[in-house]
């Protein structure tokens, strides 16, 4: 059957680290890059006699998430033990939530403003602790040993489970980006994939188009970048389609994705899967959340991407696509809004500079807006200089790159670099005269009606003035002298 004959059905499970100071059930700090086993308490080591105590900070974060994705905040949720042996799981069980998660339902909107705009349903989101790390690298651990680093053990996670609503790897990618954007907006997670703060498992199945019944699914574990998620899904869809084409049956299994070969392989079959023997953790009391607590969090919730996008379209007159790009990151949206507030120029002008020039400069320097030195006020000042005719667009674009890398005051930079646009009629006039004298043939073709010929003359003048001449003044003078 052709690939189009199958409908792809995808559900994603995302594990995201919550942005807390300390661990989920211990006072040890959450830090990245510390020496191994530095950030551990007796609780994280699972010493005899220790007990977990819930970090109250996660309650607000869970509520924030629940409200942001339009889910239901469970008034009473239960922590349960998931029992299995693994060397980097010190207690021999992970404290998670099973029958009663903290958040139920909700949705995330993907591809806003697009024809592909859809709401992706969420099944649930629950709190759990991360495990430590096993280090098998022979260079570090020696050939016969493995080492364990418990710095990550007990770090709070929110596991977010989507409904099987996604229909392509592109949609899966769009969903993950939208989800991470929300998490960052509301300060629930930094979502840094490189630090393992945002990890994804993909459940994938195929069914013949038009078929109601879901096909057998596989779960591809621990994919750690957006592009790998899409690649892993594509690879798994291809693998399953080949099996089905050959008349075979997909077997329920846990898969691993190899980013080098870009293929998925079976890690273990589900029928051999562990029985985790979940039961409510008797060391912890139910997590009870009051209406008042929810209302308090609701009051402190920032404007979410979707609402901000609509506001930018309606109040700032931005195009839908531009508003979507600006609101994808809260930092970028905030930067843009502050810049708008710092200049008398129109919002669309500021948006143009942010979208065209600032994003380009960020991309070249491979940094995010929050890491760049440029401030909204300095960008606004730069735009003002251009609009006042004191800086050419070309010079301003050079300065944007410099502001991103080094920061600084555009007015001072402009004079330091001698970039101020030349509007002096005398200076420009002599360059104009020189250009006219040097190219009589171009002058005649202009006078014969070739309007474009003037551009060549402008180019000569700009070259002569090292790009500093105010282009408007140059054009005016040329027209004056040639008519």
């Amino acid at each position: 059957m052709s690939r189009d004959g199958y409908e792809v059905v995808i559900g994603l499970e995302v594990h995201t680290h919550l942005a807390t100071e300390s661990k989920l059930f211990s006072p040890a700090p959450v830090r990245y890059g510390d020496p191994p086993n530095h950030d551990v308490s007796p609780v994280d080591l699972a010493l005899p006699g220790v007990l977990p105590v819930l970090n109250e900070q996660v309650i607000d974060l869970a509520i924030r998430f629940g409200l942001a994705i339009h889910g239901e905040v469970n008034r009473r949720s239960i922590f349960a033990r998931k029992n299995y042996f693994y060397p980097d799981l010190p207690k021999g069980y992970q404290i998670s939530q099973f029958e009663e998660p903290v958040i139920i339902g909700g949705y995330v909107e993907i591809n806003p403003g697009d024809d592909g705009s859809r709401r992706i349903g969420l099944t649930r989101a629950h709190l759990e602790e991360d495990a430590g790390k096993s280090i098998h690298d022979a260079a570090v651990a020696g050939a016969d040993d493995s080492l364990i680093d418990l710095n990550r053990a007990g770090v709070p996670l929110l596991e977010i489970v989507s409904e099987p609503d996604l229909r392509s790897s592109e949609e899966a990618g769009a969903y993950l980006r939208a989800l991470r954007s929300i998490l960052r907006y509301i300060g629930v997670s930094h979502g840094d994939m490189e630090k393992g703060q945002f990890r994804c498992d993909a459940n994938v199945s195929l069914r013949p188009r038009g078929e109601e019944q879901l096909g057998t699914r596989t779960e591809t574990k621990n994919i750690n970048s957006f592009s790998n998620v899409e690649a892993a899904i594509d690879a798994e869809v291809e693998r399953q389609a080949e099996i089905l084409d050959d008349g075979g049956d997909v077997v329920q299994a846990t898969m691993a994705f190899d980013p080098v070969t870009r293929r998925t392989r079976v890690l273990r079959l589900k029928e051999n899967s562990d029985d985790y023997r979940y039961f409510p953790d008797p060391d912890l009391v139910p997590l009870v959340i009051s209406e008042a607590q929810i209302e308090q969090v609701r009051g402190s919730l920032p404007e979410l991407p979707a609402a901000k996008r609509v506001r930018f379209q309606e109040d700032h007159g931005l195009a839908e696509g531009d508003a979507a790009i600006l609101t994808a990151s809260r930092m970028l949206a905030d930067f843009y809004e502050e810049a708008v507030g710092a200049t008398s120029q129109s919002a669309t002008t500021v948006a143009k500079w942010v979208l065209r020039d600032l994003l380009r400069a960020l991309k070249i320097r491979e940094c995010e807006i929050e890491d760049a030195k440029v401030t909204p006020a300095s960008l606004a000042a730069l735009i003002d200089l251009v609009e006042a005719g004191r800086l050419t667009v070309k010079s301003a674009q050079e300065l944007v790159a410099e502001l991103v890398a080094e920061g600084g005051d555009p007015v001072a930079l402009m004079s330091e670099r001698g970039l101020e646009a030349v509007s002096d009629a005398g200076l420009i006039g002599s360059a104009v005269d020189e250009a006219i004298d040097a190219h009589p043939e171009v002058v005649s073709s202009f006078q014969e009606g070739d309007q474009k010929a003037i551009n060549f003359l402008m180019g000569r003048v700009m070259q002569k003035t090292q790009g500093k001449a105010n282009p408007g003044r140059v054009r005016e003078l040329l027209l004056e002298k040639l008519s």
Binding site: G49, V50, L51, V53, N83, K91, R277, L284
Partner: protein
Amino acid sequence: MRASSLAESRARLDSGEASSVELLDASLTRAQECADLCAVVGVRPAAARAEAEAADLRRREGRLRSPLDGIPVVLKDNMVKRGEPTTCGSRILESFVSPYDATVVEKLEEAGAVVIGRSNMDEFAMGSSTESSCYGPARNPWDRTRICGGSSGGSAAAVAAGIVPAALGSDTGGSIRQPAGLCGVTGLKPTYGRVSRWGLVAFASSLDQIGPLACTAEDCAWLLSAIAGHDHRDSTSLPEPVPDFAAALSGDVSGLTIGLPRECFVEEGVDGDVLAAVHAGVAELESAGARVVEVSLPHSRYAIATYYLIATAEASSNLARFDGVRYGRRAENTRDIDDLYRRSRSEGFGAEVKRRILLGTYVLSAGYYDAYYRKAQQVRTLLRGDFEQAFSHCDVLATPTSPEIAFALGDRSDDPIRMYLSDVYTVTANLVGVPGISVPCGHVSGLPVGLQLLGRSLDEETLLRIADAFQRRTDHHLQSSPEPQ
């Protein structure tokens, strides 16, 4: 020389008749004399001496910390103390030294008590006879061929033999009350959540509770005041103020109603002489002005089954951390991680612990969870209802502590079910969370019999008041175990 009760020891310290150092030396000497009891499995003479000297100095300078200041005590070997071993009577923890203090250890230190060492126990508190310890069985000071009860058997035997005036134990299904009853001392299991479990090595988290064993209810009251209270490190610890328990000991029981659960006084499965001693104890309280009524705990016949489902389920998970990876015993020359787990645990755990881990794993397994664990939790709810109902008719319940007197060592080793039935009267208090106390109420064949009183949640005061009033009128608690020939 035998240690006297806590109250008498205090009086001797107060009058200058003895110093804390002298009390400590007497305890250490007595522990050696009674080494055959295997009640105390580890002492810390040097550290304890420094602490006793400090207590004596405080006394001279009028800076006493509490009524327990300078009193020697033992800790059951499942409460951790910084820099000291804690083994839970298990080979798997034979090398473990704790880097932190249990809350009760901190509180005893704040009160000035001198911890002389660790007392023997059933491995991981799983047993009713202190026979499953890796140190060997503890023996009953009243008859060294018999068990001292368990799992806090070492603590009970140490008090009964006069090694220390007081001890701490832990009670998951009767592990304080049953050995107290069989050794002729007083043992209190507080309300679940009254005493912090931080630093108590868990057996069954929803049932475990630390409590005192001593010569009298009054002594237990002093100890409970020292160790009780809310602790932010234990989420199940109750945020309730701690009353002055000793102040509640008025000696007056008039106006109080004692309920006799009819299910606990059927003759089946209980020794007739034990029952008679308990009836006589209740009659004594009646003559002191208490009213006696019959009540019913209709679901109590499911209590033992329910208890062994919940306790083993929780234990199977709680004991998973003893895996040979981070601390404790690790098998040598292992092939891979699974081999390391399997052999470390096979070598480290004893038979009873293995049995309960297997049972608990089964109880929680897919397909059995609803039939066993969930059902057991439902019965637990029904039992709570039974107690609420009963306490609408009475202030305390009275039952035998155990169905029989101490049995001979080895007598039940091959019959776990009969061993489990030793707890038939005690497990309900743990399932429901209410406090319970065992007081000596007589002797059968020269061996002590315990009367158990169960109170309302957080009402240890009434329990202690009745137990104290009983002891003011009787001398069972004053009987001493015989010196060995």
